[in-house]
Amino acid sequence: MSEGFAADLTRCVTAWCAGATGVARLARLSGGASQETWSFDILHPDGDIGAILRRAPPGYGAAPERAAGLDAEAALMRRAGAAGVPSPPVLHVLTATDGLGTGFIMGRVAGETIARKILRDDAFAAVRPKLARQAGAVLRGIHGLDAATLPALRRVTPAMEIAELARDYRGFDWPRPVFDLALRWLADNDPGPARHDTLVHGDFRNGNLIVGTEGIRAVLDWELAHVGDPMEDLGWICVNSWRFGAIDKPVGGFGAREEMFAGYEAAGGHVDVVRANYWEVMGTLRWGVMCCGMMQRFRTGPDHSMERAMIGRRASETEIDLLRLLAPRAGG
């Protein structure tokens, strides 16, 4: 497929990018069958332009139930960028005449996305202590976007999220008493819908941020964006799996919750600590259910890979983290 794809991409890029003469260094970065990420350079007499294509190939147009869809992602990134949220520039949204499926092309932002490198490499030692507070400020920027200007997104309440996780978990038909304990706790402690719904990024965590030596340069992966309780994002980034071993620094392994909260409030937001903690429990269970889902896709196809199989064995990490949250032991 590659030659036809490269030719289609060249035709697409030269059509909207004035002066562009072609594309080079096309390389697949990641993704499954239904969603692909490609890196390439737009050849231009004024200097080549680093670019990223995110697309669902032709025939894979329908987004999964939870996903906002690639068109919505592009629109959100544009809105976020315009409002001062660090975002890659969206260069082009694919149209039917491009013949490339659905998706968009964005500028490639230099920096690091690999969480463990951000947490351990010397290059980031000076900026690491600032990242928790920065995360708070960036999240407030996202939550402050005017809902009237956003694409249509699904609305999520705690009760809806509980119902969805319970349905998925029961669908796997494999008993995990700790998951039942968590579902029960979440139902018993449901704080109800947020008083003020906002845009929720939905996957704001270490690993989905491009970080440079001065801080957060871009927020990526808007595919789970929805409308709901802004505290959901503050809880999700604290889920232990996103601390990558730095478990005493809850905010992505960067720093303390209080630092993120301070950054959020300094940027004009209001933090509800009880709700943020509630969403951390929900997020921990959500990641566990996602691990089980990957195991299911390994077993039933189409992605019969070792990696997916092994992620199935990561569900137990969320069980120990749920117990640490809901039934902590002395000395733990």
């Binding site: 008493p177 232990n240 478990i247 064995r313 990490e317 069980e319 120990i320 000395g331």
Partner: protein, 128 residues
Amino acid sequence: MQDEPTPVELLNAVAEFLRNDIAPQISGAAAFKLRVATNAIDLVVRQLELSEPRAADELARLVKLTGESGTLPDLNRKLANAIAAGAIDLRTPGLADHLWQTTMDKLAVDQPNYASYRRELAGEKAST
């Protein structure tokens, strides 16, 4: 009775070959996949070595908690349903201990280097 070498010995020999002889020859995506593969073999080895005695303990605890007899999947399902229904909760004597022990046993096989597990293990050692 099957003859020697044991499954654990065979798997360890395969993992050693992949690590010592193959890993140095490859790079990039293939090297990453090989690491996943050797991790999977190591996980299976841990399960073969650890699961049997711990499963017996888990079953004994489940019989006590549910008041019934059955297989591990049966009784885990009964416990899960009882928790979902609110018939058993963290105030039920033995539930928290059971969930902790069972989860620690899972992590010992799945991810013995997971930071939360190591922290809890250190806490257990300090308190005994």
